[in-house]
Symmetry: C2
Subunit: 130 residues, 2 copies
Amino acid sequence: MIATAPVAAAGSRDLPHPAPEEIRLEGVLHALSDPLRLQIVRELAADADELSCSQFELPVSKSTTTHHFRVLREAGVIRQIYRGTAKMNGLRRDDLDDLFPGLLDSLLDAAARQAARHGGAETPGHDGGE
Amino acid sequence: MIATAPVAAAGSRDLPHPAPEEIRLEGVLHALSDPLRLQIVRELAADADELSCSQFELPVSKSTTTHHFRVLREAGVIRQIYRGTAKMNGLRRDDLDDLFPGLLDSLLDAAARQAARHGGAETPGHDGGE
DNA sequence: TGCGTACTACGAGAGTTATCGTACAAGCCG
DNA sequence: CGGCTTGTACGATAACTCTCGTAGTACGCA
């Protein structure tokens, strides 16, 4: 059997994702209650639809990064698919908006406000003011 | 011996609350990521401004109840004051709305949706007709 | 084919959390 | 005054989480 079948790319390694109805609010909140994961989600929401794990500059080891991405995926916050050796990450915005309308936006807005208030260095466009 | 109370004020026992600017989003999310605490907050939001700890029917011991209320208070989600032997609990809706506009509503709405989806027969608060 | 890159799995250690029971303090009421 | 209700404090324990390093797998490229 010669492996002439390209297999439509990324069919071999599938990652388990919770179905929309399996996503629990508590799980989402817990996933987002970690500063690192909240930051990941913020970048994911701000930058693009798909980012590979290695494009994040996180102050932790690779193992820990993998761990955090898995927590986010298993909570139903992000979607992960393999693309060659890279694993692309995308927010499950549609599913979350369907389950909890407005929640993700509020969460991201809250995170942006807090970042602007405390750091001021992150999140472009928002100029404090109080 | 005349027991002249050293400290007057209706409540000699004061509880420490975080100032608004000390409230962290991650802390709030973490506090709300526990099913028990999420339920407490839902009841608090639905029923009234002030409820004593004993008015909640939680499936845990008194010690654990105290613990959860403290977590909520220290995260800045609720406000607690003594009233005789009872400790009254109230949501810090104004502070939270000021810090994270719309977040609390989204959260409560999301929790209500999930409760309706999964249980349908949720105990907390008959919020006046439905 | 062999090498480098990207990510995972496993095991471990430190820290945190949830839960309990018991013992205790503060206020109300008869 | 004594007792009841309400909630706290203090251990203790089990479970979970975050973190790491090392070893290993999957894939692309020369």
